[in-house]
Amino acid sequence: MHILACIKQILDPEIATTVFRVSEEKKQVVEIPGMSPVISPFDAQAVEAGMRLKEADPENIKLTVVTMGGEGARAILKQGLAMGADEAVLLADPVFEGADAVATARTLAEAAKKLGAEGDDVDLIITGRQAADGDVGVVGLGIAELLNMPAVTFVRDLKLDGGKLVVERMLEDGYETIETPLPAVITIAHELGKPRYTSLRETMKAARKPTQAWKAGDLDIDEGQIGANGAHRVLERLFVPVTDIECEFIEAESAQAVAAQLAQKLKDAELI
């Protein structure tokens, strides 16, 4: 069985609001010096999900990690390999730049096809529920549609049962159990739990694992379908929302006095 985890390198989503800036003119986030990009947390969980399946049957399950990005994205492939993935694929080409979710899904779907054409059919594709920069959550389902595979989103638990996959999918007020035949695509919810740590030993081993680098020409796809050329999305504006709320701090000697003032204000505003 061959599992493909699709991962993305992004601006650290945990950076403080106070240092986050955008250039409205360039419609992009202002780079913060010294800030290293990271693997999207949901994608680290996608690798974790793949590893949980692999651990149950390590001899028969192969896990490949793939990313579309610049040369710098090799860092997150190494992280995936150090988590236990067997192989990695880097999709790096200036032609891929400016992709939206549609163009990205096409590129990743073609990469999965190429792995299949090389005799290594992909049985399960795993992505994070969304990349934690754009927060779009479309690419995984797009890959499924392009490859005509069933897909399950927001997966928090998964196991193989004979030839099919049984997953738990998050609902707003609980979860549901879904059975799907393979090949299939799943997207991972953060409720899956923390991804495993990478040990120094695994990291050393990862350096010797095979990583392929493919350019657009290596894929069976028209250049008009990928990168900025293949994008449907036009970014009209990017901005940081501002509020015009002036906070009134309630200060007094005692907690009782603060509470009394607040209660009175809330009562006057008919909020309590």
Binding site: L11, P13, T17, F20, D100, A101, V102, A132, D133, D135, G137, V138, L141, G142, A144, E145, P150, V152, T153, R169, M170, L171, E172, D173, Y175, E176, T177, I178, E179, T180, P181, A189, H190, A231, H232, R233, L235, E236, R237, L238, F239, V240, P241, T243, I245, C247, E248, F249, I250, E251, S254, A255, Q256, V258, A259, L262, A263, K265, L271, I272
Partner: protein, 326 residues
Amino acid sequence: MAKNILVIAEIENGAPSALTLEMLGLANELNDGAAVHAVVLGHGIDGIGETLVYHGADHVHAGDHENFAPYMADAWLPDVVKLAQDTDPDVILCAHSNIGWDLAPRLAFRLNTSVATGCEAVEREGDKVLMTRACYGGKAREQVSFTSSPAIATVKSKTQEALKEDSSRSGEVAAISSVLEDSDIRARVVAQHREQEEGVRLETAKTVVAGGGGLGGPEGFTVAKELADLLGGAIGASRVAVELDWCPHSWQVGLSGKTVAPDLYIAIGISGAGQHMAGCANSGNIVAVNPDKDAAIYQFATYGITMSYEEVIPALIEEIKMHKGS
């Protein structure tokens, strides 16, 4: 002239979801004289079509079959795709929910177009459909349009106004003749487990008391819950508190939790990270209790208290009891 709008309805507890009605309100702002179509798929859905009409649908396409409930993407898609082709919309509105967010991207690929997820605004500018949504964990907003049509948007809860129910409104409710074939259904729901929510529902509460990392431990939620109960409100939490296992996941407010917009949101020990504010910034009034005067939450708060919550919340509970008693 504008083209039609198609709304993909969702059913919750036997009625259209609040967000479905909000989407119909938005559709009536966008249609510019053209028709508002709605599709509703479910099982045992008598009367739902009429409710959609009373809230602004001109044509309701109703599909009643056991395969349509619970929702399964493979079961819904063939009919939704066909209706999208038949009704010729240039905007399709889906809920930003675990149904709509699951359905809309597949619909987009089948219609050879694209989707903007989590939209807070959808508007027209000339021939363009402009969609505004949160990105970068709620720290920024982007406005996007598509070079393809129809534009599909998943609409965020509590960002649009529903029309007042008007039973004199006329519209047509027609049963669809389904094109679904059993072999279309690949991924199947075999069981659902829904938490019985105790007390007031978070999404519809008029008052929400939410706790975060600043509570210092699960016991902090006891006093927060007491305040919520006293105010007839619901209890919420930040991602930090949920990830520390101080409270159930279903309490989470924010980008990967619930969206709330109560009249009063009392945030205790919450810093106000973008991803949290994306779920509560539309509240009528925010009261923040946080010792850090520079916390981002204060940019959104009407009232701020920098005293420790352990002192001030019990005192507030006393005060409110006095007011209630008088």
